[in-house]
């Protein structure tokens, strides 16, 4: 509530500053008779920059540090005995304090202390909010006044405003890099604390995966095993099944659409593929679990095969269906990019369409097709919802597609959903899995992009 009020206040302040800057410039032109360097609006924007940027800085700084500072202050107010508790218990008490301050009841043993700290916290929060208001408005108004004083007809307002906009544009374009850095750092950071407890060797080469930690120290089998090889093989198995479905069908679709199909057929075929590409993965997951898996099981029973209810085959086939449009649209592009002269050459020698496609087009388009297959494979590795819904949690080390297997993505989500504590190897393991997934898909993607790049240069 108070944040939207502050936002409204800032909006009013900037609007005022625009109006003040503009009218100041116009007034000075009338008074001095000097022509303005820029259009009057630029003087308005000039003052807006002076007013808005400092205020925005204050807000961002407050947002970044508020929680940390407030928490530190609250912890300092706690009695020594509580402050000396281990980090995880202290964290529990702090969240308890927050809850109490938010109006909930507490069940803590240190009831009195928690209540006192909650009152303290509420007081700090009131003070902090007031301080924020004062700082933001002070920064804004000070900026406004300074900017307003700069305005003279000869001020090069447009150039200055454009410089500011340019800097904002540069910042916007670095967000992508910042995101990547954020991903890498957060994955690395959390994985480090995981590898401090579980050795990377065990994680990468161990064959036993049972991440369920004991609740008590003295429980039997309390250690948990973090050998991720079953997950890796499961992921590969499902992805390979998906590729076996998607690559031939996607490729044949692309060849058919570019070389054979009439206009009318293309007008129907393209939208079908686009819809297939647009269906949310959660829908595919539901489809796999509800229709495909039971159908495969029933088919297996008919010929006397025991198929697991959550077989790798069902998940893989549905994932393959999901990836068909991906393979076909990328291959479509590269086949289309093969110069017409090569087709004509083949036809002139008497080649049929099929021979042209298989012996001329596909070899010519091969690098692009390989790249699209690699990209599709990396998509299959990172796909989550289908496997979460259709593959289950059984970490079997097997290459039998009729067995139940599980994947890296399934465990990333299973270990983190509904988990309150953050510091156990169990939750941290999902970051290590995420790191592996990120590195592998990134490598595949870079390879694919390199191939595409080399191929483009060939024909252009």
């Amino acid at each position: 509530m108070s944040s939207s009020l502050l936002f409204a206040a800032l909006l009013i302040l900037t609007a005022t500053s625009f109006y003040m800057g503009r009218s100041a410039a116009v007034a000075q032109r009338a008074a001095t008779g000097q022509p303005l360097h820029s259009l009057p609006g630029y003087y308005g924007w000039y003052v807006v920059c002076w007013c808005g940027i400092p205020a925005a800085f204050v807000v961002v700084a407050w947002l970044a540090f508020e929680t940390t500072i407030v928490q530190a202050l609250v912890v300092r107010s706690l009695p020594q005995a509580i402050r000396d508790l281990p980090a995880d218990q202290l964290g529990l008490i702090i969240s308890d304090i927050r809850n109490v301050a938010g109006g909930l009841a507490t069940t803590s043993a240190n009831r009195a202390d928690v209540m006192a700290a909650a009152a303290h916290l509420r007081w700090i929060q009131t003070v902090a909010t007031a301080a924020l208001w004062v700082c933001v408005l002070a920064a804004g108004i000070a900026g406004l006044l300074i900017g307003r004083r700069h305005i003279v007809p000869s001020l090069r307002a447009r150039n200055d405003v454009e410089q500011v906009v340019r800097i904002i544009l540069i910042i916007a374009s670095t967000i992508a890099v910042v995101t990547t850095v954020g991903i890498v750092l957060s994955l690395l950071f959390e994985s480090m604390s995981f590898f401090a407890r579980v050795s990377p060797i065990e994680f990468l080469f161990g064959t036993q995966w049972s991440p369920m930690m004991a609740i008590r120290e003295d429980q039997v089998g309390s250690s948990g095993h973090f050998g991720a090889v079953p997950l890796f093989t499961g992921t590969l198995l499902i992805a390979v099944i998906a590729m076996i479905v998607a690559v031939p069908i996607g490729l044949m679709t692309a060849v058919y659409m570019t070389e054979y199909a009439h206009k009318q057929v293309r007008a129907i075929g393209k939208p079908i593929l686009e819809i297939l590409a647009g269906v949310p993965t959660v829908v595919y997951g539901f489809f796999a679990a509800l229709t495909v898996a039971p159908a495969i099981r029933a088919a297996g029973e008919m010929i006397g095969l025991q198929i697991a209810a959550q077989s790798a085959l069902a998940a893989g086939i549905v994932m393959g269906i999901m990836i068909i449009p991906f393979v076909s649209s990328l291959s479509d592009d590269v086949i289309n990019a093969v110069p017409q002269s090569m087709r004509d050459g083949s036809y002139a020698l008497g080649g049929t369409k099929a021979e042209t496609a298989v012996r001329v087009l596909l070899p010519a388009a091969l690098p692009g097709i390989v790249a699209s297959v690699i990209l599709a494979f990396s998509k299959a590795l990172g796909e989550t919802m289908i496997v979460v819904m259709a593959a289950g949690l059984a970490a079997n080390l097997t290459l039998n597609p009729l067995d139940a297997v599980t994947t890296v993505t399934v465990y990333i989500s299973a270990l983190l959903t509904g988990e309150a504590e953050f510091d156990s190897p169990k939750t941290l393991a999902s970051f290590a899995l995420g790191l592996v997934l990120f590195v592998v898909t990134l490598a595949l993607n870079i390879v694919a992009l390199q191939i595409v790049k080399a191929y483009r240069e060939q024909y252009e």
């Binding site: 957060s186 297939l276 949310p280 829908v283 489809f287 369409k353 919802m385 993607n445 992009l449």
Partner: protein, 419 residues
């Protein structure tokens, strides 16, 4: 031609026909898969828009609801409607006296009917002590049987006796189907007859709004810089490679980023559309940037030179001419990115939007869920009633996506200019 040449030619033509048949088979497989998926979803889900109700005379017993004649809202909310309901149903079938029979009678109307009675009494306490004919929500299992989604016997959870009572009720015109408004106005619930999608829809709206507000300006600004200003140097190269790679990062990794940066580092609330929208914004940013750059590139140089020629600055040329002309293309790309974000589930699981939330979220900071996550959660329940509701949720989701994609296509058709 020699006989051998004719044979060879025949073989080659056969291969040609075979190859074409493979192509047709591939296309047919894709189409059939899509058709099967749609048939599954629609076939399971279309009935969810109606709901079976049973007309039963209810005596709003003051002893059970408000012993002291109270009209206090809190007391009325917490009163024992189960008993009222049971009395009403067993009064309709007085011949049933055995314990097992009573339990089966109770099974005709689910806990949805209890909530219904509660809402009636809370809305009008004057009902207490009166007798009324009320259309009560049938239990989900009964609902499924009446709609023909399950049949008696094969795993259906309706007994022969219950089916007999239903026939008796139906003979008196006391079984009917009504439009399921609750499905469009309610939120999540443990009972399939009570669930609604509005909670998910509102959460999705907040999430997508946040995503749009963040990703659209940032994406357009980044595209303008990269396309119009950026010098060809190493930094620009890095940014470009980065954007391409970011587009291929698995969505679940973005969820991990959101969890460790937004929630653990910045201390933003779990399950909030604000966090979900931010994560989806980072995810859709590359798509928007790539689409916006293509749209900017398509504006012909003559426009730029014209603007510069009459004395516009570079920024004015972009702001007044290039960007407005590229806008339809940029918007098309943005809508497609948003449609993609609409169906995204995995990263939102990571940031806790997978909670069981029975209220409709009121602002972007309150705990909420989104439509695809809601579908995921319902899909986890084995009951037939939930299968129906899951499918109906998917129908709604697909309709949303279809509308968004259709508007993107419309926008492209309407404003596309060939120079």
């Amino acid at each position: 031609m020699t006989p051998e040449a004719i044979r060879r030619l025949k073989r080659r033509y056969a291969a040609e026909r075979r190859f074409k048949a493979y192509g047709i088979a591939a296309m047919t497989f894709a189409a059939a898969a899509l058709l099967l998926l749609l048939v599954t979803v629609v076939g399971n889900g279309y009935t969810a828009f109606w709901q079976t109700q049973l007309r039963i005379e209810v005596f709003f017993d003051p002893d059970a609801i408000a012993p002291a004649g109270t009209t206090d809202r809190r007391r009325l909310m917490g009163a024992d409607y189960r008993t009222v309901l049971l009395d009403a149903v067993s009064a309709r079938f007085p011949e049933v006296r055995d314990r097992d029979g009573l339990r089966q009678l109770e099974g005709l109307v689910g806990s949805g009917a209890e909530v219904q009675l509660r809402d009636m009494v809370v809305a009008d306490p004057g009902l207490i002590g009166q007798r009324r004919q009320v259309w009560l929500l049938a239990h989900s299992d009964i609902d499924m049987l009446i709609k023909g989604q399950t049949r008696l016997g094969d795993g259906a959870r309706v007994t022969e006796r219950q089916a007999g009572w239903l026939t008796a009720l139906a003979r008196g015109g006391d079984v009917d189907q009504f439009f399921n408004t609750r499905f469009f106005t309610g939120a999540d619930s443990r009972d399939p007859e009570l669930v609604g999608i509005l909670g998910g829809v509102v959460g999705t709206t907040f999430t997508l709004l946040i995503c749009l507000l963040l990703a659209f300006p940032l994406g357009v600004m980044a595209a303008v810089y990269l396309e119009e200003y950026a010098p060809k140097n190493r930094l620009t190269d890095i940014i470009e490679v980065n954007i391409n790679n970011l587009a291929a990062v698995p969505s679940i990794v973005f969820g991990l980023l959101g969890l460790s940066v937004f929630i653990n580092f910045f201390g933003m609330p779990r399950s909030a559309p604000l966090v979900g929208g931010s994560v989806l914004a980072l995810m859709s940013l590359p798509t928007i940037i790539i689409a916006a750059r293509a749209a900017l590139r398509a504006v012909p140089p003559s426009i730029r030179e014209g603007a510069l020629g009459v004395g516009a600055s570079k920024m004015q040329m972009i702001g007044h001419h290039v960007l407005p002309l590229a806008m339809p293309g940029i918007l098309t790309g943005t809508i497609i990115a948003m449609a993609h974000a609409l169906g995204e589930t995995a990263p939102l699981l990571m940031i806790g939007m997978v909670a069981f939330i029975t209220d409709i979220p009121t602002d972007p900071l309150s705990a909420s869920t989104v439509l695809p996550v809601q579908i995921f959660m319902w899909a986890d329940h084995p009951e037939r009633g939930f299968v129906e509701k899951t499918s109906a949720g998917i129908i709604v989701l697909l309709v949303f996506m279809l509308v968004m994609n259709a508007s993107a296509v419309w926008l492209r058709r309407k404003f596309e200019r060939r120079w």
